[in-house]
């Protein structure tokens, strides 16, 4: 197989697998935050910013996968 083809396939697999975990995690964070906001609407503003930070932390593994696939595609 050509090296360019292998690069594309590997980059796709990397991002796809790296996206599974953070997708579940972000959904979990959002659903719990929604529950908390529904129970206590006065704290919604405070919870929202914490939710965004928590989601950014969850997202980091997906971004690592993305950066790795960029490196595979464009830098190796």
């Amino acid at each position: 197989m050509d090296i360019a083809v292998i690069k594309i396939i590997v980059a796709g697999i990397t991002t796809a697998i790296a996206g599974i975990g953070p997708a579940l995690a972000e959904g979990m964070v959002a659903s719990k935050a929604m529950e908390a906001m529904g129970r206590n609407p006065e704290a919604a503003d405070k919870l929202f910013s914490y939710m965004i930070v928590a989601q950014a932390v969850c997202e980091s593994t997906a971004i690592y996968g993305l950066v790795v696939s960029f490196i595979i595609l464009f830098a190796v």
């Binding site: 910013s49 950014a56 932390v57 993305l66 950066v67």
Partner: protein, 272 residues
């Protein structure tokens, strides 16, 4: 008719405009310079109109400052004086990133090119797509946190990472095990500090680069997707840029306050 357009060469390394001794001046640096000039001009303009009765722009900046001040004060356990001493770093990073991340949608500036025709290259480029900028920001923030913690309590701060104190207090054989585990955990904390730098920097870099690349790839996918189709992706990129501009200082705040309060004498947390 369906045909592929020529996708411009995508590279992670930015174009080098010229070299100044050993330093390569890249397109992203030029972009950052433009952002800096805009920010300085903006600051002077806002300063001129300050007043008791706030103008619209003043309300915006006061809200931005209040947002971070509240978070910082809460993280320091109600110590507003300490919070105000760290606030300018985080606030200026936030404002810089707000402009930097959305650099691609600023008209005219992002389309300037050098050497028209053969060997044409963009004069300015979105700054966070250069890994040096993001890792520099992350190193500055984490390094500042360690410097401040070291200034407060040098022995205590080093002791947080090199935990050899329990080794001198061994009385039973079982204590040796817990002491060794303590040494190992301190070593892991040391690695964790480097992981913080990598995670902070690659989060910003990956998000911004991905937002740009998606727009480029969708635009040049085929002749049908050149005009209207990239617009939703541009909005997606802008949304994630703004979120990253707020999240980077917030995470930096968490890391900084965690490092600084771990060496400070414990104070009673204020009830929120």
């Amino acid at each position: 008719m369906f045909y592929l357009l020529e996708i411009p060469a995508i590279s992670i390394k930015p174009d080098v405009l010229f070299t100044l001794g050993p330093v390569e001046i890249t397109a992203t640096m030029a972009g950052l310079l433009v952002v800096d000039l805009v920010l300085i001009a903006f600051a002077l303009w806002v300063r001129k109109g300050l007043g008791i009765i706030p103008s619209r722009i003043q309300v915006f900046f006061e809200a931005l400052m209040g947002f971070y001040l509240e978070k910082l004060t809460l993280a320091f356990g109600g110590d507003e004086k300490k919070a105000r001493s760290i606030l300018p770093v985080l606030l200026s990073i936030c404002m810089m990133l707000l402009l930097c991340n959305n650099f691609g949608v600023i008209p005219l500036v992002s389309q300037l090119t050098l050497n028209a025709g053969e060997g044409a290259m963009a004069l300015t480029k979105t700054p966070p797509t250069h890994y040096s900028l993001t890792i520099g920001l992350a190193l500055t923030v984490i390094g500042l946190a360690h410097f401040l913690a070291f200034k407060v309590n040098p022995i205590g701060h080093i002791g947080n990472f090199i935990k050899i104190k329990p080794l001198f207090e061994i009385k039973k054989p079982m204590d040796l095990l817990t002491a060794l585990i303590g040494v190992f955990l301190g070593f892991m904390d040391l690695i964790g500090e480097f992981a913080k730098v990598i995670s902070l920097s690659s989060r910003l870099f990956g998000n911004i680069l991905a937002g740009e690349l998606i727009v480029i790839i969708i635009t040049f996918l085929s002749s049908y997707t050149t005009f209207l189709v990239p617009i939703p992706f541009m909005f997606l990129g802008m949304a994630s840029s703004v979120i990253q501009a707020f999240v980077f200082p917030l995470l930096a705040l968490q890391f900084m306050t965690g490092t600084i309060t771990s060496v400070s004498p414990r104070r009673r947390k204020q009830q929120a």
